[in-house]
Symmetry: C2
Subunit: 332 residues, 2 copies
């Protein structure tokens, strides 16, 4: 009911909506209308009540409430089921739990704060309250398990496109999926897969976008490595709108990939990449070497021409751009 | 304490062990000894008590108790942590839960009965009480995610070797990992993986060996497809001993593969295979075709020469041997 009242207020923009109108349209008493409006105010909605004339929605709170996400979402199925958490250990962990219980394809888990956000290779991810978009989606793709890593590149492209649509933001993708702005880490992505022989049960893609966390939100050792969208943006933006844009891009790229393969994703990835053509240091599980990143192959793996002329395929581990100042991963 | 009393009795074979001896060696009262012996009897141990002379362990119960598994286990680390369940929904599900909570590499989950045993591709697996060995192991391999499917072949070889060591049993592996005896399904294996980009978090290998379930233990529609070890065995065997043999084989093959790659596993797999050289029907996710199974490739994928001369790689789906009587999968 609260959601429907909000919709009515939203539809009417800065026009007054009378309590009587709401009560008639939703078939509830005027006292009920009043109670719901109070509850919305408690959630942070600024709703002006003009005695005997009605209500105006002045401002929505900067929260990732499902009704707010839904109100700007333009996808068909991705993010249509939303699980909102004020606080969670990790949205990926929660999403995996729901996936194990059989949630629908495209479920979105979003939190204002993660108490134990996760990065790749058991690293942590700092996720302060309402200072970023910390979310995970559950996908049940028809791809083979060996193709799951391509979903990681797809997610990176979806996010890069969305943040670069904000005026002033020029972010780029490091391989495989960190997103870098002014040499610092803006976005982290952690893709986890649950699969059996020849079949993916589900993929959980966790994305953390730092929208407005500042230096003080980070411990001293990573302060200089972090950057937020707000640091570069030359226009204001709402977190829910940015989230909706990411999901829209992701759904489009995903449907394209299911129908025609990943080549379009790879082309976009190349466009947003900040690593191709750069000198890199590769820390593979078994050894470390230097070279130049030349391309990604048809599996989405990075190809590095080593300093002694070999072409190496990076299938695991970490890649950093040399000199280090060109790109600093947040936890490297 | 109960475990230590059992050890003492076991060490002494058919020799009497006096209550006084036990009480002195374990530093407990004779009443405590008596109470523990009663508890063991309640668990199904046949322990003869001879007035004033002592105890003899006459027979151990046909249960997969951790102490019984441990007493015949010859592995270094695999199966050294044991989680025993009288009844569980699925040992794979339980093992995944423990893996998510950070269990050690090599954990064994074993159950007398599974109420919702799982097979590949969301099929069920019937697991009646004490009529089979229903178990899962958690591995944390250093392999890449794309190599996880090879663990499935490894498990199939480990089981095939162990059951074929029982006199009278001539079982063979169908691709990828069903084990067939007299054209019927003896063993099912379900490998599940949890991975992120370039890194396996864990693999759970679930194995169901039908040791003595009979036709009546299965619903009518699958009765003719099932077979038990006891159906073919020309000698008696204990479930714990067969389980210990599987784990020993698995640990050896695993260590070999970590050190030198999977080629030895593939060679053994070829030796036990009943599919190579056979006419097969391949039900791939996108189409169905006929051909002859010719080999497995270096990724462990089945190579099938189709009837019109193409060489196809089977990366997912199902393969059945034609004519159907040559090999029937339990749920095909």
């Amino acid at each position: 009911m609260r959601k429907r009242i909000l919709e009515l207020l939203r539809e009417n923009g800065q026009k007054l909506v009378s309590g009587e109108d709401i009560s008639r349209k939703l078939n509830i008493t005027r006292t009920a209308v009043w109670k719901h409006v109070q509850a919305l105010k408690n959630e942070g909605y600024e709703i002006e009540s003009l005695q005997k004339r009605g209500y105006i929605l002045r401002r929505i709170p900067d929260r990732l409430f499902p009704q707010e996400i839904a109100s700007c979402l333009k996808t068909k199925w991705l993010g249509r089921d939303i699980c909102y958490k004020e606080k969670v250990d990790s949205t990926n962990n929660f999403a995996k739990k729901l996936a194990n219980e059989g949630c629908r394809d495209g479920l979105l888990v979003v939190a204002e704060e993660q108490e134990a956000g996760k990065g790749r290779l058991s690293r942590g991810w700092i996720s302060p309250y309402a200072k970023g978009i910390w979310f995970s989606v559950v996908l049940k793709p028809p791809f083979l398990p060996q193709e799951a890593s391509k979903c990681t590149l797809l997610a990176a492209v979806a996010v890069a496109k969305a943040v670069n649509d904000i005026k002033g933001v020029k972010a780029a993708i490091k391989w495989p999926n960190d997103i870098i702005l002014n040499g610092r880490k803006l976005v982290g992505i952690l893709t986890e897969m649950n699969a059996e022989f020849g079949h993916i049960n589900y993929v959980v893609i966790g994305i953390g976008i730092n929208t407005c966390a500042s230096r003080d939100d980070y411990p001293p050792e990573v302060r200089d490595l972090a950057v937020s969208v707000a640091d570069a943006a030359k226009e204001s933006f709402l977190r829910v709108e940015l989230l909706a844009a990411v999901l829209k891009n992701m759904e489009e790229l995903y449907e394209l990939s299911v129908a025609h393969g990943f080549s379009a994703v790879f082309d976009e990835w190349r466009k947003y990449s900040c690593i191709l053509g750069q000198k890199v240091k590769v820390i593979a599980p078994d050894r470390t070497y230097l070279g130049t990143a030349v391309d990604i192959d048809s599996d989405g793996l990075l190809l590095v021409k080593t300093n002694n002329g070999h072409l190496e395929k990076v299938v695991a581990g970490d890649v950093s751009i040399r000199p280090a100042t060109a790109s600093k991963g947040m936890y490297q």
